[in-house]
């Protein structure tokens, strides 16, 4: 905040203009732009006298039909918990089953729409859960969608969302500084914080469409791919898909040259960058992190796989006994009784 205040005052002094400037808050790079991700409302930690520091790393494995439809989604989330003390974490998710993955210090619990972790952390603890998710509910929050056609597949960045923003004439230097600050924070892996802007005209509400850039690597059939997917891209190739998708920081947006841009243009870029960062942060937190400020990373692995055959229907013979068997049993009993009676009468 201090950076842009000083810059703003300096700018006023330099221009010598006596225009009145209003301060407006920029969209936060932390606030989610939609209900999900993270799934099912994210994660919570029980209120205690202290806060655990948690870094979360999640791998989402998506099994696809040949036509690109997800039929099985599982997520392995590793939580590195620091700070000694009790913990009670609830990770929201449309979870069908969950188990501890190798290396986990304890076993996760399962509740309706959540994964539970409870225990005592002696200083550092690693908690790893492997969860099977409800494909119908989880697939809506996947970042990538594929549209298959003979000989080609179109990959669609599904993270796009229309977000509320505004435009106005803004004082230039603070905007440049803000963008530079964002780029610095991003490069250092520090969570970006929101900022504000000095605008000289009345802000007009707008809608912008933002999407998290996705680094797509892997193969489609025999064709290797590696590119950043911003919107959609058609790959002329066919065959099984083995792609890894990682949400990326909008470095292109942050590092684009700012020379010669007006205050309005810089403001537009800053708001877009903030909103994009917020979007990227959402897709990096596919499953919630109980530490709101902790680091979260998610990697999505899409694989074409054979959908397992449904289990054969259980034929319930025992519920419908054959009349022949019943008759035979009754006849047998009657025969035995008759035999016993005959033996008795002769003894």
């Amino acid at each position: 905040m201090r950076r842009w205040t000083v810059a703003a005052l300096a700018a006023l002094a330099v221009t010598g203009e006596a225009h009145a400037a209003d301060f407006v808050a920029l969209p936060s790079p932390l606030a989610p732009l939609s209900a999900a991700p993270p799934l099912a409302g994210g994660a919570t930690a029980s209120s205690e006298g202290f806060r655990h520091r948690v870094d979360a790393r999640t791998t989402v494995d998506v099994s696809l039909d040949p036509d690109g439809t997800p039929f099985r989604i599982s997520a392995t989330q590793r939580l590195d918990v620091r700070v000694k003390g009790d913990y009670f974490f609830t990770i929201g998710a449309p979870v069908l089953s969950v188990e501890a993955a190798p290396g986990s210090a304890s076993t996760p619990g399962l509740r309706a729409a959540s994964i539970l972790w409870a225990g005592f952390n002696p200083g550092r603890r690693r908690l790893i859960a492997r969860a099977a998710l409800d494909p119908a509910a989880a697939s809506r929050s996947l970042p990538l969608r594929g549209e298959a056609a003979p000989g080609r597949i179109t990959l669609v960045n599904a993270t796009g969302v229309s977000a509320g923003s505004f435009t106005a004439d803004a004082v230039v230097p603070p905007r440049r500084q803000y963008l530079a600050g964002l780029a610095h924070d991003v490069s250092r892996g520090i969570p970006a914080t929101s900022g504000g802007a000095l605008v000289t005209t009345r802000p007009v509400a707008t809608k912008v469409r933002v999407a998290a850039p996705l680094l797509v690597t892997g193969t489609i059939g025999r064709r290797h791919v590696r590119f950043v997917l911003e919107d959609r891209s058609t790959i002329h190739a066919g065959g099984p898909i083995r792609l890894t998708v990682t949400p990326q920081d909008p470095t292109r947006l942050l590092r684009a040259p700012v020379t010669g841009l007006s205050g309005r243009q810089l403001l537009d870029r800053a708001t877009r960058a903030s909103l994009t960062l917020a979007r990227v942060r959402q897709y990096r937190t596919f499953l919630g992190n109980p530490d709101a400020t902790g680091k979260s990373r998610t990697t999505y692995a899409f694989r074409t796989a054979a959908r397992p055959a449904p289990p054969p229907a259980v034929i319930e013979h025992h519920e419908r006994r054959s009349p022949t068997v019943t008759l035979a049993a009754v006849a047998g009993v009657l025969l035995a009784l008759a035999g016993a009676a005959f033996a008795w009468s002769r003894s």
Binding site: F88, A118, G119
Partner: protein, 407 residues
Amino acid sequence: MRSVLLVLVAAVALAGCGGSSSPSHRTPLTIVVNGPFSRSPYLGRTIENGARLAVQEVNANGLRVAGTTYELRVRTLDTGLSPARAVANMRRAVGQDAIAVVDEGTGIDASWRIANDAGVPIGVVFEGGRQIVDPVTRPNVFRIAPTDHGLAFRLAEYLIPKGLKIALMHDDSDYGAAGGRALATAFSRNRSSVAIEETLPADALDLGPQVLRARRAHATALLVWGRPATIAAVLTAARSAGWNVPVFTPPTGADPFVRQQLADHPQWVDGLTFAGGRLTAEVGTGPFLTFEQKYESSFGVDRVGVKTRAGRAVVVLPETAMYAYDFVNLVAAAVLKAGSTAPPRITAALNEVTTEGANGDQRGFNRNNHEGVVDDDIYFARFHDMTYAPVKDDPLSATLPTLPQTR
């Protein structure tokens, strides 16, 4: 004159009718406590008291579901430590439309099915055997009590890094035998820590030969899993022979009987370290002390029967009562969550609710885990001057405050 009196009486009677002071009608809901009241009266009574305390509080706050106010009530049934009677009691409980059963644990292997057929949840608050609880095969059985497996695991985790040569001793009671098996599993990967393994006769008064055998095996610590009498006998045998070896035990080490037996030699109890379920949380002693105060004002103080060197009477902390208390509160929470008093729905809802336990810790179950006291909840405490305090050389125990145990 008589007619005037009659009119007055009638008027008073009429005045007493109607009005808004009549008590609201509450539909009763039964919680059955299935405990060993005849064979182990202290244990049975403690469980019953914990349940009753929770019931009092729930009723005072009101349990309202779908427009109906319910009143919990407690019924007790005596198992006499007999599995067959436990089974018969479970039938009775189901017949009495119990919505939940608080059980000491005897005969659960046979009785759970009867409750399960009716969808009635069972909360085991004492027995720690492994096979009792299985969320998959026994979906209606829950436990709030330290498990044998958890205790053994934590004992191993605590003792092995100390580099001690441990004599694993268990008595031949069922409790001791189960503990022996749990210890064997817990120490299976660190056999080098074990100096000797011994089985002790459960009712023996003199365990001198067995303790001597451990000493000759160069044990530098004794881990004794058995009934309180066995622990007292081991301490007597070791200390009277001048052997000040550290002795570690499961929760039975804290049983009043041990201190009563050694009242003439209180110094022999000093240093005895036991593993047990934590009585406090990091929020401090407040929640448990509040619970203890409510317990004692309702049911009186349980005295150990010994005094400290300063002449203060030592009291028993209501641990088992706490577990019964927590389970009843969870049942009440499950009723509200389910929006129903039907036992099967209560059982399902028990997997989804969390309450604050009497010790201030979060208490709850989930679909994968029906244990209310997990391994992480096991702490260690050491005796000094007939009272005990959490040890400082265990990460969890070091965070826990000491509870006052004298009056």
